[in-house]
Amino acid sequence: MTQSLKDKLVILLLAALGTAFMVTFIAIEEQTEIFALLLVAAALIVAAAKFGVIKAISQCLSRNEKLMNGAVIAAVLVVVFWFREDHFPLLMIATVMMYVIACFGLNMQFGYTGVVNFAGAAFFGIGCYTAAVLGDTSVPLLMVIALGGIAAAIIGSILIIPVLRTRGHYAAVVTIAFGLLFRTFLEVNDTLGGPQGLRVPGMNLFGWDFNSNIEISENIELSFYMNYVILALIMVILAFVLMRRIERSWIGLNFDAVRLDETAAACFGIDIKRWKITAFTLGNFLAGTAGALYAMMLGFIAPSNFAFSDSLILVSIVLLGGMGSLWGTILAAGLVVLLPEKLQAIQEYRFLIYAIVMILILLFRPQGILPRGLRAYIPGWRG
């Protein structure tokens, strides 16, 4: 068997395994079963790492990037199709996807360029509120998603001067203060619904109402969340392509240079301000678009959705996945959104356990689950 054939088989096998895992994980509700499944998965991964299987697999994957991307999309479609009639799993899957888009945005800032942003939820929220305000007007809703991103980028530009002038902890405080300010402002401001929040009309594309179930025939009626899942999947793919293209282009090189050593980068004639502004604005744009779609899907938003703790969740996803690692972000978003949801039995103890797990991960695997690899001169030649 040739190398490439073997690779292809491995990838298909992995995709099948991943699909089966996702379906089981989302479907089971019994707490003991969930724990058992997680333990088995963790044991498998540890064992695989021990015997060098992970390394082999990752080499195999990096050789066949296109096939891998296709396999992942196919796997997600299979999972989505499996739950075609079940509203809640689809809602969760769509939520994960929107978190992924927002975290891609943060990744551009934290992971690529090293610009800190602790107000991710605020920019996500700007997107949400844009959708709520523009939803009732005659602006086409697909445009509203883009406008959500643009609004986030524009409002974010208020922070450009302080963000550019500061570094490290000082920059962190700028964004933390902005996040708190944003939420307090929404709470005391009556015209935007105040603490009561706002209703958001659902997505409607060329007469296709996203908020009614899809009736295919007498017996087959798909959940209306399927609409949002598909749209979110398209957006994730677009965002992923954008992120990858930027990462591998000269723009990404500049980003890396700015992150790794500002002084050296400046010596080589790289305009640090320009790249920081680019990353900050683009990142906020992505978070805003995700927010706009999220608001349409949820149908209701309120300031308490965009608290400091929500920004922290976004940051912890980026860190957990591995700075700048796109696949890591996807995996981490899935874990962070789904796990607390799945572990409802431990209700009051959820946050405690979540925090403890995060501490353990940061102590023992500070580089994240799937750390970003070194830049490869030619993709696929890493092995």
């Binding site: 860190l319 979540y354 940061l362």
Partner: protein
Amino acid sequence: MDVGLLGQFVVNGMMLGMMYALVAVGFTLFFGVLDVIKFSHGDVLMVGTFAGFSTYLGLTAIGIDNAFVQLVGVLVVSIASMALLGAIIARYLVLPLKSAPPLNTLLVTLMLGTVLRESIRLFYPDGSNPKHFPSLLPTDAWSFGSFTLRADSVILLIGGLLVIIGVNVLINRTRLGLAIRAVAQDEETAKCMGINFKMIVLLTFALGSGVAAFAGVMNGLYYNEINFGMGLLLGVIGFSAAIVGGLGNIYGAILGGFLFAGLQTLGAVALPFASAYKDVFAFAVIIALIAWRPTGLIAEKTSERV
């Protein structure tokens, strides 16, 4: 506005500023020795207050009801236990991450804050409800027109001031302080001079956490109410105050603390719009100040090594 009312606002603002400053001093101490932000600081303060509260309950239970003895007991237990907790946090969570990116330390301590907060809420008896913190100080009040001054407020203000002066003397006038300053300036050189780096870091964290515990008890005595969430906002404000003042500088922390309290009071009193906007106002000014002075009002004296 009449003078009495103005006086009242000034005293209120000073009380707030004192508490913020005490919290900010902790942030600045930790940053000085290790260049890290320990975000669980506010929650350590909260745990310290609960430790003090438990001591009070314990003392009352065994029949000691002299307010002065109780106060001393509360302070000693609270400060000592938080100093220990601070050292433990430094030893097992902060030092191991010394070589990791600063963001990791920030997140670890943020998560630790959640753990502390949730633990009190879940495991302290009836922890999710606010508790009545006893008044252990004399409550005599003097009224001058619309200005009411209470003995306990005065004692707390003086107490806070003494603690700040004490910390300042400790840092600037003692051998331990010299060692702390040495470590803050240059870890390697300090080690060469025979300073036990690890010990100094642990002691600094103990000191900062002890000060936080004092601020927590002060908070309890002043508001007579404590709850599991009280540390969160105090932590964020203390952090902002330390940053605005300039990290690594005690005077900066004090300045930042009083500045933030002043902004909040001003926002509530003097601005034309609703007082609910006072935090929006305070944080907006903070952002503007940082844009103006990117390394704080009293800037860090460092030259960058390339």
